[in-house]
């Protein structure tokens, strides 16, 4: 066979295989290094600090776990959160992340490496990203081959869509969850391919770890049954599927129920019913097959099918009945909001108010995935060419995850792995085709169909697939016929599948120039991808958001550290049991950095409590004051960005507070009254009275105009001119305002000792004359 370029001939296959595996190991090591290194921008640009909001809680919980042990953590009741309701942390948390850090911490201390728990927390996500790269490699290897696996590992290692959740310091559940997700999927594919109960059990164990680590485990809970169901519907039921699924489901479900937060949900909520249903279906089908293989009569077999169908229908009816009776919890609001993007805004504003629950904007797909998003469909289509069971998995995963990623920004994270896998498959197929030196002669026979797209290093994998290929020979033949028909007219598959049109003149790649062009082009794309990823990571995803950075005029970095300034002020200047009220976004940070009780935090489990805070913030002072006193609030903290133009401040979030409060008190708080008659959201002279009297507005703009020394005060976030005479406060005292006015803290005044309302007490203290009152009439009116 002619080759495009000379190949060494004196190498033994063993040498080739050894060298290839060495190169793979080195490549994986380098990929891990790159994955970890690119996540360290946050530490280098800022410092080793926990980022954002949720990580602060995870960090605090981990510290408890590390210092007091697992059982104390399990039984931890946090009286400072959700004051005065408290939070049963042990029962309302996914402990996987903290347990992982705790194990690492104890391990390191056992070998006398006294590493600070904070550094473990900060560096956990980068560390696990290396494992994710490895898991993705294993997964992709099952799809195609090791070279595709390496590409996928490289992609997932540096793709911004995943880095956004796993930079150093982003100590969140997702940090380890993606690794668990990929490894569970890998084990599932492996179990399905081999019909192995061992791999099914491994999948179940990692599923359990995933359940313990992230609420997104429901994705696995539904992906695997969906895959199994599709396989059944396509007539691909096999004992391998039965063994893999049954072992995964039985062990995985029992294990997942050991997590206190999950408890009996797997048998009680609708989200988990698909898995149970498919499990039942598999039992029925396998039972039917068993009986069929032992019974010969045609009529009896028909009866059997009817019986099986009846059982299935009865099961569905029973499920509906149980749901109706309330034994099985119906779908939750979060679930509905996945199908109807407007649902949350209407019924559960608290979910809609989270920015990461918003629908994804188109540019962010490119921002997070760059050229992978173009390769992704190609990879999915390539999966149709062979359409083995595992390819079906990727196809289903791709479809489902694409939809979810479009609905919610944060679900971009679950899309990213499949994009990397599919793109790697596509890109490696392209490279295989153009690197492969063989040049086809005239007419090849059909056997070479796969050969052109399989690189020489594919030896081990090929044999692996061989067993599978034979067992599903019938179905995959059918499938390939179909796809062959469907793929007509697609240029890519025309190029890649020369055998699909064997009658015409031979096709293939000849000469070095075409190869060089395509490969050069590909390398350029990859290079741009790397530089894009680096740029996005360093500029967009590495900000701790606790510390802000801006640029001075000379280009040097200027650090804005208002949050920590204010939190430390609270920590050092207030009583230890002083309750701080703020909007829930800052609850975890206050608990973590200021160590003070908070009313609400980012664990948004009690809508009414949050609505109470929303009501206090959006009501006039005299209405808010009893609420504050009832909840023993000593300090109120607001975020105000008007001075330096920090747009994530509370005035911009204010409408959500109003909406959430309105959901609970529709008669007292009405969203329209916070707009001007023209329907505009204003903070200037035209602001509506409800807006101007609200506690939030008053706290934000209190003494703001004075800062401009008589000039026109300008809110730089909303680009509006604030009234020259600012609001006055009677029930609160300004206690602290940070350097750039981002954080403002107010102290709630005690009741007046004379029993007056604080407004008139204030008026008296300022020397204002009280209107002369007359005694109440005691005479009764003549009837």
């Amino acid at each position: 066979m002619p080759t495009a370029y000379p190949l060494p001939t004196n190498l033994s296959p063993a040498t080739v295989a050894n060298t290839a595996s060495l190169i793979r190991i080195v490549a994986l090591a380098l990929i891990s290094g790159a994955a970890i290194a690119s996540r360290l921008f946050a530490v280098i640009n800022f410092e080793s600090i926990i980022h954002e909001f949720d990580p602060w809680f995870n960090y605090r919980a981990t510290r408890v776990l590390a210092s007091k042990g697992f059982y104390e953590f399990w039984n931890w009741f946090d009286p400072t959160a959700w004051y005065p309701l408290g939070r049963v942390v042990g029962g309302t948390v996914y402990p996987g992340l903290m347990a992982t850090s705790g194990v690492i911490y104890n391990l390191l201390h056992a070998i006398n490496l006294p590493v600070d728990i904070r550094n473990i927390c900060v560096l956990l996500a980068p560390g696990f990203s290396a494992l994710t790269a490895w898991a993705t490699y294993m997964f992709t290897k099952e799809m195609k081959d090791a070279s595709a696996g390496l590409l996928a590992a490289a992609f997932i290692g540096i793709v911004p869509g995943y880095i956004s959740r796993s930079v150093a310091g982003s100590y969140d559940n997702e940090a380890i969850a993606i690794f668990l997700l990929m490894f569970t999927f890998y084990s599932w594919i492996k179990a399905l391919k081999q019909g192995s109960a061992l791999f099914g059990t491994i999948a179940a164990v990692f599923y359990f770890y995933m359940v313990a680590a992230w609420g997104g485990y429901a994705f696995i809970t539904n992906m695997i049954p969906l895959h199994a169901l599709v396989l059944i519907l396509m007539g691909r039921f096999s004992s391998r599927l039965y063994v893999a699924y049954s072992s995964w489901y039985a062990i995985g479900t029992l294990a997942s129920m050991q997590v206190p937060f999950v408890g009996f949900q797997p048998v009680k909520t609708s989200e988990h019913m698909a898995a149970l249903g498919v499990f039942g279906l598999l039992q029925i089908i396998s039972f039917a097959q068993l009986v069929r293989s032992h019974v010969s009569s045609q009529q009896f077999q028909r009866l059997l099918y009817v019986g099986v169908a009846t059982i299935g229908v009865l099961g569905a009816v029973a499920f509906a009945g149980l749901t109706y009776k309330g034994w099985i919890a119906p779908w939750t609001g979060r679930f509905y909001s996945l199908w109807d993007t407007g649902y949350a805004k209407k019924y559960i504003p608290i979910i809609a108010s989270v920015s990461e629950h918003q629908p994804t904007a188109w540019p962010s797909f490119f921002m997070d995935l760059q050229f992978l998003i173009f390769l992704f469909p190609a990879g999915v289509i390539l999966c149709f060419r062979e359409l083995r069971d595992e390819h079906l998995f990727v196809i289903i995963y791709a479809v489902v995850a694409s939809y979810f990623a479009g609905v919610m920004v944060r679900l971009m994270l679950t899309l990213t792995p499949v994009v990397c896998v599919a793109s790697a498959v596509a890109l490696s197929t392209l490279l295989d085709t153009f690197v492969d030196p063989t040049e086809s002669e005239a007419i090849e026979d059909n056997q070479n169909e796969n050969g052109t797209s399989t690189p020489p290093t594919n030896g081990t994998n090929g044999t692996n697939n061989g067993t599978v290929a034979t067992s599903t020979a019938a179905s995959s033949k059918k499938a390939s016929k179909k796809t062959g028909g469907a793929a007509e007219g697609m240029t890519l598959s025309d190029i890649l599948a020369p055998a699909s049109a064997p009658k015409t003149k031979p096709r293939g790649i000849y000469g070095l120039d075409t190869r060089f062009m395509v490969i050069f082009n590909t390398i350029c794309m990859l290079a741009f991808f790397v530089s894009h990823c680096t740029w996005v990571t360093s500029s967009a995803y590495s900000s701790p958001s606790v510390v802000l950075a801006s640029q001075n005029q000379d280009g040097s970095q200027h650090i804005i550290d208002d949050f920590r300034e204010a939190y430390y002020w609270l920590r050092q200047n207030t009583a230890e049991d002083a309750v701080v009220m703020s909007w829930w976004d800052y609850g975890y940070q206050i608990a973590g950095m200021a160590d003070r009780p908070t009313l609400v935090d980012n664990n948004t489990w009690n809508n009414t409590h949050i609505a109470t805070v929303g009501k206090a913030m959006s009501s006039p002072e005299e209405v808010a004051y009893p609420i504050l006193r009832k909840h023993d609030v000593s300090y109120v903290l607001v975020i105000f960005g008007g001075l330096i133009g920090y747009s994530g401040d509370d005035i911009n979030k204010f409408l959500w507070m109003v909406r959430i409060a309105q959901g609970v008190w529709p008669n007292e708080i009405q969203e329209p009254s916070y707009f001007t008659p023209q329907g505009e959201y204003k903070v200037d002279d035209h602001a509506s009275p409800a807006m101007r009297n609200s506690l939030m507005y008053k706290m934000s703009y209190y003494r703001f105009a004075e800062l401009f020394g008589g000039g026109q005060a300008m809110d730089r976030v909303r680009q509006q001119q604030v009234p020259k005479v600012g609001p006055t406060l009677d029930y609160l005292d300004e206690a602290f305002t940070s350097e750039n006015w981002i954080v403002r803290i107010y102290e709630v005044k005690k009741e007046d000792p004379l029993g007056r309302d604080l407004k008139s007490a204030n008026a008296f203290a300022q020397g204002k004359k009280r209107k002369r009152t007359r005694p109440a009439v005691r005479r009764r009116a003549v009837v």
């Binding site: 059982y71 399990w74 039984n75 009741f77 009286p79 004051y83 005065p84 309701l85 408290g86 049963v88 042990g90 029962g91 206190p260 049991d577 009832k630 909840h631 009741e751 007046d752 000792p753 004379l754 029993g755 007056r756 008296f764 203290a765 020397g767 004359k769 009280r770 002369r772 009152t773 007359r774 005694p775 109440a776 009439v777 005691r778 005479r779």
Partner: protein
Amino acid sequence: MVYLRSLFLIIAGFAAGINAKSSTGDSVLVIVEPKQQDNYNLFFSGLKEQGYDLTFRAPKAEAPALIEYDVPAFAHVIVLASETKVFARDITPQSLVQLLAKKTNLIVALSPKQTPLTSLAAEFSLTLPPPGTPLVSYFPAREGPANVIPVSVPAKHTILSPNLHPVWFSGVPHTIGNNPLLVPILRAPAESFASETDGGSADSLVDSAERGGEGLWAGSQQGLVTGFQTLDGSRITWVGGADVFSDEYAKKEVSKGVPSGNLQFARDVAKWTFQETNVLRIDRTTHNRVNSTESLDQYTTNDQIEYAAYISKYDSKTGNWAPCTCLKDLQLEFTMLDPHIRTALLPVAAEPGKYATTFRAPDRHGVFKFVINYKRKGMSFLESSTTVAVVPPRHDGYPRFLSAAWPYYTGAISTSVAFFLFSAVWLASEAREKKAKGHKAE
């Protein structure tokens, strides 16, 4: 806090020596016009006898200051300068309120004239009649002007001594607002009214009614001497006329052979205002599980909790705090936002001063407070709040092996046994088959 405060009070008590009769200190500043100072000699000497240390200051004098470096210089202040229109700069309504907030007690005398103090009264929910309208009464028939009135004192009163003789009063009445912190001490006689004293003609009556509008200042709803206890515990007494304390009225007979009760009345008012009588405090509170003495930070739901409060009353005769079993209506609340439990805190017979109760913690986790909030007119307010957490049982704190769960135990055990038997049978049969095969092969 309660501990600290009581400790402070004890130390203060020792420092002041045996003479100290007030629970909060014995330094008294009297603001009085020097000319009138001698009118109140009996009252002042009575105070001195009790051990008070009096300092006099003219209303316009600059020293001694009321508040020095944000600390009140005196424990008690008596303002008898009821007709003074212009005070020194540091004596303003605002500074008097500030004094109250800093735990200083006040006695303030009013007069029919419009003074800065008149406007201050409004802050205490007291409404005064228009200027120049003192209290007038023509009953009982007597010699002397109509605005010098003998007022009979209620026989039983929480503040006053029992069975006091009527008290001479001349001055201005006030109506008492609905502020719950007010403590009426002396009410106007039913026949009295506020009016200009031009002989009490019908015209003047109509005039004053018109000026006052619908609310005619008349009748026994008006107060003459009214106490006020702030939420911080400091006390202020408003007296309609300074003459109540005067020597003249103290000596003046109400009727033949019946002396007036003014002197005793003044002493009683001063005793109450200067925190000698009706002064209670919570020494300490304890809480623990039943059958344990350890005070916990957190209890488990449904725990039986024992709570006790130790209350003592100030005894001005000895200057000591003595355990007090005097409260019959004390209540304890176990509160999270709202009281989940409200129960009577009854005196324990064996231990004077101890009030205790036992209750079951609610079946609800959260941050709870033991709250005592005892506010009765004329008595010191008793307030105490202790925060504890009520947590769900620990993971190993739940009951085990419930009889109700036997169906599940049976299910689990039978499945395990069945699986074991099945495996055993399976393995055994496989071995036999192999053997059989082996035999065949042979």
